[in-house]
Each structure stands twice: as structure tokens, then as C-alpha cells.
Amino acid sequence: MAGSQGEAHSLRGPSDRPTLLAIRDLFNSEEPLATAAVDDILNPDVVNVQYSDGLLAAEWSRIDVQWTTRDDYKYHYTDAADVNVRWGKHPHNGDYVHVPGLEHYHPPPDASSNPSDVEDSCINQRPETLATRAVIKLWRTAYHAQSLDPLNAGKNPP
């Protein structure tokens, strides 16, 4: 089913307009370096979050967010240095051997979908406000640490 190229698993259900708009508003109010917009105000499929800076040496970065009526999601990070990571939640038919539930993490540098590379996600909250706040906080932790390791570590030691 899943190969090492791209991602063969689909999100379940249509994109959810009210949730996408709530996610847009949360990025805009919570993250000073981010400007978020939906691709189409009437029939949106994705929230594009443009950051004026990137992780490590990247000059800019972007997070693209999809969310469905059945609470499946993807938060895909990409940047000027072509580093990619993705937090996802959707069925994977047990292909991701290290992932007991639906929430998972495609690690850098290429957001690998190789079943043995995909990790269990450090984010396990259902409401979109909590998942989005977690992504915002993890980006910021990695930004301050100048490392990609915090993106799925789930903690920020003093």
C-alpha cells in the first residue's frame, strides 16, 4: 500500500471549512512570525501558513494544513532549504510499524513515508485548537533550539 515515495494513505471525509478557518485564525493570533490564509475562502482545502523565517539556516518556511470532517489531518512543514516534515492523523492499515494509533510523524529531511521511518507522533489531542497549538509550540521550540530534534520530542527542557 504505502511506498517510500509520497504517501499512499488518504484522509477520510471532506475538508472542513469551519475548522480550516479556525486553524488560520489561530496561527495568525498565536505566532508573530506567521501569516496564514486559506487557498479559497468559499471552498477551502488547505491553510497555507507562511513564516518569515525558517528552522536551522532556512530563510523562510511554510506549514500547509489539511483537516477533514472526521478529524483526520496533515500539517506539512517545508522550507527554503528543502527540509520537509509532516505530522499526520489518518488510517495507515498498520503499514507504519512504529505507530500504534492514527497520529504519526514523517521525519526530516524529506518527511519520509517509508513505513519503518514513520514515527509515533508526540501530538495526541483531537480538537484542532490543541493540535494546532502543539504544532505552533513545537516549531517555536525547534526554532529557539536551532535543531529539528524538538519537532517530535514533545518537550522543552529548561
Binding site: 472526521r70 489531542q125 480538537p127 485548537t129
Partner: protein
């Protein structure tokens, strides 16, 4: 690059965002936010966990939201009540939100676009709805000519479902805009002149 965001240490990202949300909101606001986008009937324990509150507090606020028409219920197992967002309430909310973003003229144009997209899907795949395709696939009762018909991938099916759903919101918005013309105070009277306020 200017950086005005600060960051406190945290031991667990999930607890950190729950604490942050709790500090910014009341239990009622969180219960309302959670149920506003819960479309599958769900028990009070799950909703309380999602809303960072107790089942007792969640049930109190959900009961009030049922009375307001914001939430619907159905019976679950062992006498439990399951809660989900009222579809009527969601449609009216989205229609009002759309009218605050688009003029009725813009909305008419976009509705024409979205209708054409849905008709394109129907003609390309030879069925009225994405659900018919799913049923046909499951039953494996296709004859040869149907098997040779174009089969959309899962992302195309999702795009079809999404467009159809947002077209429904858009149609509701246009109906409300049309109704306003005749119902609002100061609306046109039958002889074509504005009625007194």
C-alpha cells in the same frame, strides 16, 4: 529576524497546550468549541476530555447548548446520550460567515463555478455522487463497460465531497441573502417602494 515570541519550558507538549487553552478560556467556551466541530455522535466523557473539563461540567453546558439548538443528541449504549453539532445550526452559521466574506453577486458567480465542478465530476465518473462509486466498488457487481469507466483516486473523491459540501453552505448563504431583501425592516414593500422603518 525580529522575534517577539517567548517560550516556557514544558515536559509534555499535550499537557502544555491543554494548560495554555485552559488559561485563556472558560469551561463553557471550550465545551462549545469542541462540540461545534464534532459531527459524529460522541459521549460526554470523550467531549469532557477534549474540552479539558469534567464530565459533569461538560454535560451541564451540553444540555444548555441542546436547548439553544446548537447541539443535537441521540441515544447511545446503556442509556447514555451522544452529542453532535446540530446540522441546521452549522449550515446557518456557515451561511452567515460566507455572507460576511462575499457579496451576493460574488456568491452567485462562485456557486455557478462550484456547480459546474460537481457536474464535471458526475459526467466524468458517470454517477450522481461519490457514495455510489464506493458502493459499486464494494459490491464488485460492475459489468465490463462499467469497469472500463474512469475511476477517481481517493483525493479526487475527497475533492468532490468537499466541493459538494461547500456548495451546500453557499446555496444556503444565497437563500438567506435573498430572504433578507423581503424580511428585514425597511425591506421593499409590494408596490416596489421602501416601507417605513
Amino acid at each position: 529576524m525580529a522575534d517577539t515570541g517567548d517560550l516556557d519550558p514544558f515536559e509534555d507538549i499535550n499537557q502544555a497546550v491543554r494548560d495554555e487553552w485552559k488559561a485563556e478560556t472558560t469551561p463553557y467556551e471550550r465545551v462549545r468549541a469542541v462540540i461545534s466541530r464534532t459531527y459524529t455522535p460522541t459521549g460526554v466523557e470523550t467531549l469532557a476530555t477534549d474540552a479539558c473539563t469534567s464530565p459533569k461540567t461538560a454535560r451541564k453546558h451540553l444540555t444548555a447548548l441542546v436547548d439553544d439548538g446548537f447541539v443535537d443528541t441521540e441515544p447511545g449504549a446503556h442509556g447514555a446520550t451522544l452529542y453532535y453539532r446540530s446540522t441546521e445550526s452549522l449550515v446557518v452559521e456557515q451561511a452567515a460567515a460566507i455572507l460576511s466574506e462575499l457579496s451576493p453577486e460574488e456568491l452567485r458567480d462562485r456557486i455557478t463555478d462550484l456547480r459546474e465542478q460537481v457536474v464535471d465530476f458526475q459526467q466524468t465518473y458517470g454517477v450522481e455522487s461519490p457514495e455510489e462509486l464506493t458502493v459499486e466498488r464494494t459490491n464488485e457487481v460492475l459489468d465490463r463497460s462499467e469497469r472500463e469507466r474512469a475511476i477517481p483516486d481517493d483525493e479526487t473523491l475527497r475533492e468532490w465531497q468537499t466541493t459538494r459540501r461547500n456548495l451546500a453552505f453557499a446555496n444556503a448563504a444565497l437563500s438567506i441573502a435573498n430572504a433578507r431583501k423581503f424580511v428585514e425592516p425597511g425591506a421593499q414593500s409590494t408596490d416596489g417602494t421602501a416601507s417605513p422603518p
